[in-house]
Amino acid sequence: MTDPAEEAALLEKARKGSVEAFSELVRQHQTAVRTYVARFVREGEVANDVAQEVFLTAFRALSSFRGEAAFRFWLLGIARRLVLSSLRAEARRRTRETSSLPGAVADWHADLLEATEPRASRHERELAALGRCLEQLPKPASQLVSDHYIRGRSTVEIARQTGKRDSAIRMALTRLRRLLRECMERRLQAEGAGS
């Protein structure tokens, strides 16, 4: 969690041009921004580029940030605009190529993002809920998450390692994601009811 006083001091220095201070802000907020972008931008390299652009844009425009909203929400507002732009560009590019699914997915994501209210605070709460849901996963599921998402092994590699068919691994991942999603929803609802 960011200390507001420390963040205010870093912002003050960054406004005066301190790259070191802004780098610290990048360090503190990169997870929120990277994960927000990665939700919608499918290709990792492109998502990384967009997330980098968020911080470059923010540093250039820092004088316009007056602190009425949280700095992180301001960053996520910039991220939302850049993600939308990236998704639309991706959709256009893919439409011009033969493959249609990635373009359609980009377009659907963009439509969804445009149709919904900015939900920076929800992203924060979802991240926290996901963290808690991951902690509660049963061991086989936790192992699968670790192999696929932390170690970066493909479903084919995991299948070879476990002696299962890769289609079975893919479906296990599908079920796992659904479980995590349901777990997150329950937690968010419980939070809402409790607040």
Binding site: V41, D49, V105, I150
Partner: protein
């Protein structure tokens, strides 16, 4: 394979998320199934979101790598002129698939990127326009890649500084214009000769570049325009430009020795011979407006010939819609203003011209509805209050005008249906110059956030209003969340005085405020005009 069964849909989607390559039939089947079933689509998108979230969240060491990379990129940014940095950013966004990753474009690489982007898009578009009527052959017999030569009947042309054949020459530059040639970015200068592959950039303020073609034709880049490249095709005898973004005006001759002229955008190929035209290339659409002669517009799915007085709109889906042209006419309705009030209206005119509008200033007392029906946007100046005799009758009729409308006179809001009538719905905040951006994400907010200074003169004060619940509130008075200074209604949204027939924007300013608008104030004004006129969520 069939994908109607839930199991096969799940399998295909799981393969897609796992990064497998699906064949075209599988992709089509999945797209079709998900397009038909919004609930299934939403569930799959939710799963894709979670997949991306997990990948980013659980990527060990990504945080430190990210910070180092950011520092490296910032250092790179600082080593360049701001203009070039902005161009790189724009090009990176528009040409991402072919641009080297991680922003390591060199200062002098911008031109190559532009060229690559142009080449890529021309190549991508060409096969899709294979059914397009080919321009007449001006020269023939050249093998692909052979050097261009002058054919009998071609107009005499000079060579560029590099000994290449001249495609166009810069005749005038206003503001900040740049030329990209041989990978170098230089300020554009009058007399510069442009060869095949050269690009041009007119900056986003009021900059513009005028070009002359060897056959006597004229082109003009309006502000915020990027021409990726000019090219001369020896085989087809055409001159072409790739318009990456912005607005290009042209007047191309129909003389016997004139070269057919082709404009390529992301959405369409527009062939011109003997026509005066304006082409707008935007993120999602290309618009071709014809003032004289005719042009041929070819898109993915349709093509059309567009006559004078008409316009063609091409979207991402590749369809061509031809309608009567309202051009880019902005009708500014004013009162019998004199002195500072008249100067303020002139400041608005200048700003609209810089935005690319042809401005028609009309006295509201003598203007009919018919005279503003075809405008791209109608602006009602606060100077109309200088007219004697109260609110002009046209104002009430404007409430139903199906064209975008912007006004900065709050005392008209109720007549236009934008607020309820009554004294509680509007007021004056004397000696106030600042506004609070309420929704930084909305295009009306011009990318601003927090508290910003709208006007520089405290004697102006600000005018607030209380719009209806369906309005987008872009800015309020600081500390006064119910007093809006900038708000808008999207088309079809309920306003207190009826449904919005087109976009409506209200700004709370004094008649002379345009003379004292800050930089942020003009940004808000421009955002209001763009949002209203474009019907586009992107500012």
């Amino acid at each position: 394979m069939t994908t109607t069964g839930r199991e096969s849909l799940d399998q295909l989607w799981a393969r897609f998320l796992a990064g497998d390559t699906l064949d075209a039939a599988e992709e089509r089947a999945l797209v079709t199934a998900l397009e038909r079933d919004p609930a299934a689509r939403e569930a799959r998108l939710g799963e894709a979101e979670l997949h991306g979230l997990l990948r980013a969240l659980l990527d060990e060491g990504a945080g430190e790598r990210f910070v180092s990379e950011w520092q490296e990129r910032w250092k790179h940014e600082q080593g360049k002129e701001p203009f070039v940095a902005a161009v790189e950013t724009k090009l990176r966004a528009e040409t991402r698939p072919n641009v080297p990753r991680r922003g390591r474009l060199s200062f002098f690489g911008v031109g190559l990127v532009i060229g690559a982007a142009a080449a890529m898009l021309v190549l991508v578009l060409r096969p899709r326009h294979a059914d397009a009527p080919r321009p007449e052959q001006g020269t023939a017999g050249h093998a692909p890649g052979a050097p261009a030569t002058t054919a009998p009947g071609d107009p005499p042309v000079a060579d560029t500084a590099h000994g290449e054949r001249e495609v166009a020459r810069i005749e005038a530059v206003r503001g900040s214009g740049h030329r990209v040639s041989g990978g170098m970015v230089r300020p554009a200068a009058v007399g510069d000769r442009l060869a095949s592959g050269d690009g041009l950039l007119a900056a986003a303020d009021s900059s513009a570049i005028a070009l002359g073609l060897p056959d006597g034709g004229r082109l003009r880049l309006r502000p915020d325009t990027v021409v990726g490249s000019l090219a001369e095709n020896a085989r087809s005898g055409t001159t072409s430009v790739f318009l990456a973004s912005g607005t290009l005006e042209g007047d191309v001759t129909a003389a016997a020795n004139a070269r057919p002229f082709v404009i390529v955008t992301r959405h369409a190929q527009i062939s011109v011979r003997g026509a005066a035209f304006t082409i707008e290339a935007r993120a999602r659409t290309t618009r071709a407006m014809v003032a004289r002669g005719q042009v041929r517009v070819v898109a993915d799915r349709q093509s059309a010939t567009v006559e004078a007085g008409r316009q063609a709109l091409v979207g991402d889906e590749g369809a061509v819609a031809v309608t009567r042209s309202s051009s880019r006419i902005a009708s500014l309705l004013v009162g019998d203003a004199r002195g500072e009030a008249a100067d303020a209206d002139q400041a608005i005119v200048r700003r609209l011209v810089a935005l690319g509008f042809e401005v028609k200033t009309k006295a509201i007392a003598t203007t009919s509805m018919a005279e503003v029906q075809d405008s791209a946007i109608v602006l009602v100046s606060a100077s109309i209050r200088t007219d004697p005799g109260g609110t002009p009758p046209l104002v009430t009729r404007l409430r139903d005008l199906p064209r975008p409308l912007v006004t900065w006179e709050p005392r008209l809001f109720a007549s236009l249906g934008m607020t309820l009538p009554g004294g509680q719905e509007q007021g004056v905040a004397p000696a106030t110059v600042e506004i609070l951006i309420k929704d930084p994400w909305h295009p009306l907010s011009a990318g601003l956030s927090g508290t910003v200074e709208l006007v520089t003169d405290t004697s102006d004060g600000l005018r607030w209003a209380a719009p209806g619940p369906f309005a987008a509130w872009a800015a309020t008075l600081p500390g006064e969340p119910t007093k809006a200074i900038c708000f808008g209604y999207d088309t079809g949204v309920p306003m207190p005085g009826g449904q919005a027939p087109a976009r409506r924007v209200g700004l709370g300013m004094k008649v002379t405020s345009p003379l004292h608008l800050s930089e942020a104030g003009w940004a808000v004004f421009e955002a209001a005009v763009r949002w209203a006129a474009n019907g586009d969520a992107t500012p």
